[in-house]
């Protein structure tokens, strides 16, 4: 059986329950929206400096999980700790050390790229802000349109600007919701390369939700697969593929989505 669920319904896979000093600690979190159980007793712990992919179909609970970690959603029960602080009670202590990017969120369209980065840089209390903006503009190839309104940029340019905003405060924890959605393959590959370098240079922790299996295989040293608000599996990409006897995460994803184990429809758990 692919799933490693304890009698209490909590995932007990090989990388669950790591040390309490991790970047993110999610313990038995339940989130209920009216009649819908969006998250069902999920638990996981991410060590600092790791890149973890959150996989799952639409409605699996990926965005809710990220929103919980950011403090944008309150859990119905359970506990969330980020960088050693309880969320949302102690969020003031950590929000300046983390950042995020999501396709569900825009940056003000009428403001230029430079103005947007200036506003967010000030909100995050970035020192030598002009220098940081110049550095990001060079790293993310924004120089040519720094003084253009955000609303007049292409989808790829907007994504790079959103990434610049997410990196403006050199976050220790970066939360990304589909970071390469709507990007052409070349730009998407370039963004992935940048994220890898950022993690390596800053020992940053990255949690990304994605539907792009190749992206997750390339970037992530760990994968959490979600389905119907529960954690179905949690391990390294290689270990997960081996467990499902598959050669790609895409095949694993389809197996999980269609409730198959080793290509066979699962009847009894």
């Amino acid at each position: 059986m692919a799933r490693m669920i304890g009698n209490d319904g909590v995932y007990r896979g090989p990388v669950a329950g790591r040390s309490a000093s991790g970047a993110i600690e999610v313990e038995r979190v339940i989130k209920v929206y009216k009649q819908t159980r969006a998250l069902d007793r999920i638990s996981f712990s991410l060590p600092r400096g790791s890149i973890t992919g959150l996989l799952g179909g639409n409605g699996a609970g990926k965005t809710t999980t990220i929103a919980l970690i950011m403090g944008l959603v309150l859990p119905t029960s359970g506990r969330v700790h980020v960088l050693g602080h309880r969320i949302p009670e102690e969020s003031a202590s950590v929000l300046g050390r983390m950042n995020f990017e999501s396709p569900y969120v825009d940056m003000p369209m009428r403001l230029t790229v430079r103005q947007n980065l200036t506003v967010f840089g000030r909100l995050y209390g970035v020192k030598n802000l002009a220098g940081r903006i110049a550095e990001l503009a060079e790293d993310l190839d924004l120089t040519d349109f720094l003084d253009r309104a955000n609303g007049k940029l292409s989808a790829g340019q907007k994504t790079r600007v959103a990434l610049a905003k997410a990196l403006i405060n050199r976050p220790e924890l970066l939360l990304l919701d589909e970071p390469t959605a709507s990007l052409d393959p070349d730009t998407a590959d370039w963004v992935r390369g940048h994220l890898e370098r950022y993690r390596k240079d800053n020992n940053a922790t990255i949690l990304l939700a994605s539907h792009n299996m190749l992206e997750v295989e390339r970037l992530c040293d760990r994968v959490i697969i979600m389905k119907h608000g529960r954690i179905e599996d949690d391990d390294t990409p290689d270990a997960i593929m081996a467990r499902y006897n598959r050669t790609t995460l895409e095949e694993v994803f389809l197996d999980v989505a269609r409730s198959r184990v080793n290509g066979v429809k699962e009847v009894v758990r």
Binding site: L95, D106, M107, P108, R110, L123
Partner: protein
């Protein structure tokens, strides 16, 4: 947005960042600037001529010059103050930028304080030309009211902020479906605030309701000043006390609505 309380201090840098954000927006859009000027100018011109006509045909109004046009200007301070506050907030919902702000170190109280500054800035852009028009076209100098004008102004602004904070909370919780409240809620108190007529016009039972509203005290005070040439300090102090209660209540309501929004998970999908 960090925390929900006032603890750990308020950062002027973060408030400044938000003011800068709204200033950039205002300067990038001439229709937004024009809108700030257009309606107050139209109001004062229309009501100025009404006052001019009535004064020529009714001895009471000829004697009590300026009550209508003064009322229009003070009403606009109340209405535009709230609108300036709430529209700046709604701009974030239109821009789908709320989640960016809510997960930044910006505190709710800092966010609201930046909106109060924007309310004053937007109000100044609209009201100062309005008062100059009243002076040039109708020879009504509202600044001649002197120190009482300061008491009128701040009491009206405090009420406008209290309403603005509450309305912003409703938009936060209910999305742009609640946007119409931004434009209409202040009109709901208009008949009870006795802007253009004395409170004695209302039925006795309704007068009790009207006295709950701080603007009622301001407009009564304005009439006392223009007609009887008396400044009613007592009215201003009562209005200030009610305003402080309203501001605390609206801030509490905003925090409760923010908490409810987080509970329902609608911050990432804020919109319609």
């Amino acid at each position: 947005m960090s925390g929900m309380s006032l603890h750990r201090g308020i950062s002027p840098h973060r408030i400044g960042a938000m003011i800068l954000r709204y200033w950039y927006l205002l300067m990038s859009s001439w229709p937004r600037l024009l809108e700030l000027l257009y309606w107050p100018a139209l109001q004062v011109i229309t009501w100025g001529f009404v006052q001019y006509y009535i004064a020529q045909n009714a001895s009471f109004f000829a004697h009590a010059g300026g009550t209508l046009i003064g009322a229009v200007i003070l009403w606009d301070i109340l209405f535009r103050g709230q609108l300036g506050f709430s529209i700046s907030f709604v701009e974030e919902v239109w821009a789908r930028n709320l989640a960016n702000l809510m997960m930044s170190p910006l505190k709710p109280v800092e966010f609201l304080l930046s909106l109060t500054v924007m309310s004053l800035l937007r109000l100044a852009i609209g009201i100062i030309p309005m008062t100059l028009l009243a002076l040039v076209l109708f020879h009504f100098n509202i600044y001649a009211l002197g120190l009482p004008l300061i008491a009128f102004f701040w009491n009206l602004i405090f009420t406008s902020w209290a309403v603005g904070v509450f309305v912003s909370g409703l938009v936060l919780r209910n999305g742009l479906g609640a946007e119409s409240i931004v434009w209409t809620l202040m009109f709901a108190i208009m008949p009870l605030a006795c802007i253009y007529y004395p409170i004695s016009v209302l039925p006795v039972w309704l007068q009790y309701v009207a006295w709950v509203l701080p603007p009622t005290y301001v407009f009564e005070g304005m009439r006392a000043l223009l007609i009887e040439h008396t400044f009613r300090t007592d009215l201003m102090l009562i209005a200030l006390a009610i305003n402080l209660i309203l501001l605390c209540a609206s801030f509490g309501a905003f925090l409760a609505l923010l908490r409810s929004t987080k509970k329902h998970g609608s911050l990432l999908t804020s919109g319609e």
